[in-house]
């Protein structure tokens, strides 16, 4: 499938992606401050209030702002380049969504930067922020719902115009992600709208913490797949193309996306394993669901590695592993794909440990958890965002990438820095360091074994910051180049055995949305309803 992007089509995705990376640069600087503060090497910067202000800003920006804007920008690029029809609702609607999200982000950012929302990024009462932070966050989400609507409707329009033809895989995955995000964001949106905003405005005096955490768990895990699916789309459709091969199986890829969509939603209670307000039975149900997610992850691993194997063999690679050496590792997309899979391997192992109901107790709320989610999100996922940006940049800006060598160095540094940062965090968790701490108020004897790992953590953080700078420099210098070039043809990998006709269930979402609705009611219905039925000992249900 080939197309060139017109300049007028590129502005909306470009604006979204620039917001993502400008805020990313800010958050990367905060990350550098945080590892310096925690390392114990710089006592003068050990300011607890500043540390938690920074941690909250870093988490909100990386988890919600970088991701949401990047995914929206990537989604508009995919819709335009794969379907080649106008966006449903028009570009103006897309800009409206962008401005709503941007306004909300600015509102939340002011509260974060001024220390009025130092509540981490988990929306867990009784930590309370200024109401403007919650209102801003709500606008960010509402703006992204406009994007969700445009993705779903544009795909539907295309399907009507092309009856019986398989939806391009990249758009199929993006639409799945839009549906996933809309459903999963309903949890935190309900919490913010009906609990946190009235509480922070003083309209209600108390808050039902159990209900709040349950609603947030609705969002908290599936959001990871909202972040991850764009990386999977790149794995399926861009990595094989960049490697000079073909996608091993289009059908396998769709099955994996659908399994992620269905299985990743009703499993968030594994974040509540040690919380008292849900019973062990419900937590066990969610644990089983959590392990089910390993299946599409393994299918993805197989499909992507097999696609790379085909590419390596087409480049003359022989033997069981000779194709790995034959791959074009000097291509940023191929390199990022390989490094991302390696980080997924290690992070996936850590995830299986966290997900195990009994064993989670050993690592719960320790630095292990921080190491795990940084490896999966900041490592596996974000390194693919970088590669996607490098891939899209010439088609979005009409200018060639400033430096491919710099891009390759940046990806390697990100990988090395992330391992040096997160592997010591896993060990720190195992030897008892809690997460969410600035300067630990413990005895020197207890914290002495942490010290070598804290130095490693600081080293990793410095490398990551340097890598982040390289990314911004490369993208900025590319964009500012005076000389324009013809926008490159945007290409996606073709399947090894292309399907002319796709089973209906693998070419739409109607049936699967119904399955999700039933699954969500089954796994979250009573756990939420109980808060309205249980004895509240004199207070009104839901604290109203």
């Amino acid at each position: 499938m080939e197309a060139r992007m017109a300049a007028s089509e590129s502005r909306l995705p470009l604006a979204n992606i620039w917001i993502a990376f400008i805020t990313f640069a800010l958050a990367a600087f905060m990350g550098l401050y945080q590892v310096a503060e925690r390392s114990g090497l710089f006592p003068k910067i050990e300011i607890i209030e500043l540390y938690f202000r920074s941690v909250s800003s870093h988490g909100v920006i990386m988890g919600y702002v970088l991701t949401t804007f990047f995914i929206m920008g990537f989604g508009y690029w995919v819709a335009s380049s794969s379907l080649k029809i106008p966006l449903w609702g028009g570009k103006k609607l897309g800009w409206l969504g962008f401005l709503i999200s941007l306004g909300g982000t600015a509102m939340a950012a002011i509260m974060l930067f001024t220390g009025k929302a130092s509540i981490m990024y988990t929306f867990y009462p009784p930590l309370k922020a200024n109401p403007l932070f919650y209102i801003g966050a709500a606008f960010l989400v509402v703006g992204s719902w406009v994007w969700c609507l445009q993705m779903v409707m544009t795909m539907n329009v295309w399907k009507k115009q092309n009856p019986g033809v398989p939806v391009p895989l990249s758009m199929y995955g993006m639409t799945a992600n839009a549906i996933l995000w809309f459903i999963t964001s309903l949890g935190v949106s309900s919490e913010v709208l009906f609990q946190l905003i009235p509480w922070s405005l003083g309209w209600i005096d108390t808050i039902d913490v159990g209900l709040a955490r349950t609603l947030f768990s609705w969002t908290l895990h599936a959001i990871v797949y909202f972040w991850l699916i764009p990386a999977y789309i790149a794995f399926y459709t861009l990595v094989p193309k960049a490697a000079g091969g073909k996608l091993f199986s289009d059908e396998f890829s769709r099955i994996s996306i659908l399994m992620l969509l269905v299985f990743s939603l009703p499993i968030g209670m594994h974040h509540l394993y040690v919380d008292p307000f849900q019973s062990a039975g419900w937590k066990f149900v969610h644990m089983i669901g959590t392990f089910m997610v390993a299946v599409p992850t393994l299918i993805t691993g197989f499909t992507v590695i097999a696609s790379m194997e085909v590419a390596g063999r087409l480049r003359g690679g022989k033997g069981l592993f000779g194709w790995i050496k034959a791959l074009n590792w000097s291509n940023p997309m191929v390199l990022a794909g390989g490094l991302s899979l390696l980080m997924l391997t290690v992070g996936g192992w850590g995830g299986v440990v966290n997900a195990s109901y009994s064993m989670d107790v050993a690592v719960h709320n320790t630095q292990w958890i921080t190491g795990h989610f940084h490896l999966i999100f900041a490592g596996t996922t974000v390194i693919m965002y970088f590669a996607i940006a490098y891939y899209m940049w010439p088609s979005l800006t009409g200018k060639p990438l400033f430096s491919k060598k710099m891009a390759l160095a940046q990806l390697w540094l990100w990988f090395i820095g992330m391992l040096i940062l997160t592997l010591p965090w896993h060990i720190l968790g195992l030897i008892g360091q809690p997460r969410r701490i600035g300067v630990p108020p413990y005895s020197a004897e207890f914290t002495a074994p942490w010290e070598p790992y804290l130095i490693l953590m600081f080293t990793g953080g410095v490398i990551l910051f340097f890598s982040a700078l390289l990314l911004i420099i490369n993208l900025l210098f590319s964009h500012l180049k005076r000389k324009s070039s013809e926008r490159p043809v945007m290409e996606y990998a073709q399947a090894l055995h292309p399907s002319l006709k796709m089973p209906t269930l693998l070419n739409g979402f109607g049936f699967w949305t119904a399955v999700i609705a039933v699954y969500m009611v089954a796994s979250y219905g009573y756990p939420i309803l109980q808060f309205f039925l249980m004895e509240t000992h004199g207070t009104f249900p839901w604290s109203i």
Binding site: G301, L314, G316, L496
Partner: protein
């Protein structure tokens, strides 16, 4: 990069992904061993939370 003949290309595409199976097998073994190590080597010896 080696230039393959059309016949060699067809063969490369038709070949089963043996390398992929091998990698996934190694990964599956490492995952199981890693989980067992954490359970029997760390979690159980650690005992109740102090």
């Amino acid at each position: 990069m080696v230039e393959l003949s059309p016949e060699e290309q067809e063969k490369a595409i038709a070949e089963a992904p043996k390398g992929t199976w091998a990698i996934l097998l190694v990964y599956a073994v490492l995952m199981v061993v890693g989980w067992l190590y954490m359970f029997y080597g760390f979690f159980l010896p650690h005992g109740p939370v102090q």
